[in-house]
């Protein structure tokens, strides 16, 4: 199954997308523990884009693609924010201010919870492909 949703760059638009993702995974019969981790991966990836991705204050849309294949789940996040590869982001140390470090924690969680990940800058878009295996 493959499904696509878009959201604007506002934190208020995040919960409905995460709820949609969770429902789609549950419907597909994905184990609860993996559903929770995918929700977390999506929350961290998307909230990071919404909080830090844009230099202007205009409205942008972020695309979320969910693909459930045999054996694995692919989550693609596509945004037109400034170029940023979260997979290459360094871990923040304890001297970093808290607000910034919280962002660092999110990226650390995302990196730890996916089985495979790939980042590409395609034209003016950041494209993050995240794969979670279904054990």
């Amino acid at each position: 199954m493959r499904a696509t949703r878009t959201l604007g760059n506002a934190l208020a638009e995040l919960p409905p997308i995460l709820d949609w993702l969770e429902a789609a995974l549950e419907t597909a019969g994905v184990a609860a523990a993996i559903v929770g981790e995918l929700r977390l991966i999506a929350e961290e990836g998307l909230s990071n884009v919404i909080r830090h991705g844009y230099a202007d204050s205009s409205r942008h849309s972020i695309e979320v693609v969910l693909e459930i294949d045999e054996g694995e789940i692919l989550l693609v996040l596509r945004d037109d924010g400034r170029p940023f590869n979260p997979l290459a982001a360094p871990a923040r140390n304890s001297h970093t201010p808290i607000a910034e470090r919280a962002g660092g924690w999110g990226i650390q969680l995302l990196q730890s919870l996916v089985d495979r990940a790939d980042y590409q800058r395609e034209g003016n878009a950041n494209v993050l492909r995240l794969v979670k295996r279904l054990e």
Partner: protein, 125 residues
């Protein structure tokens, strides 16, 4: 809103916040606000009962971290009890929360608080 916060009184100068639901980008601000209110009191120990929390993200971690920092600044403590496996997993990945402040269950926490109380009583004698 998918987080319920229940305030429970127990020992003197101790405030327990029993949380039920998700602690994430959406709900962390409500816990921040509750915390701010609790911090205006003379509380010495804040206990977060996490038995009802089935999900935590970096936004929730940041709130717990801030609580620990604020309590430390006033020579108090913010303790966490009953983390569910998926929440413990997040604590293990991101070393944001002080592990010495995490208790597996209420019995373990009570033992710690009893010892703390004994120490305080001894020091004041």
């Amino acid at each position: 809103m998918s987080l319920k916060i229940q305030l429970q009184q127990g020992r003197p100068f101790t405030q327990t916040l029993a949380l039920v639901g998700r602690l994430d980008t959406e709900t962390a601000p409500s816990l921040d606000a509750e915390l701010e209110r609790v911090l205006t009191t003379q509380v010495k120990v804040i206990v977060f009962d996490l038995s009802g929390v089935n999900y935590i993200s970096s936004a929730g971690l940041a709130t717990l971290f801030r609580a620990q920092k604020a309590m430390k600044a006033r020579s108090g403590e913010a303790l966490l009890v009953n983390p569910q496996p998926q929440v413990q997993k997040v604590f293990d990945i991101v070393k944001a929360v002080d592990v010495r402040a995490v208790f597996r269950d209420v019995a373990e926490l009570d033992e710690y608080l009893d010892e703390m109380q004994r120490r305080v009583t001894r020091d004041s004698e």
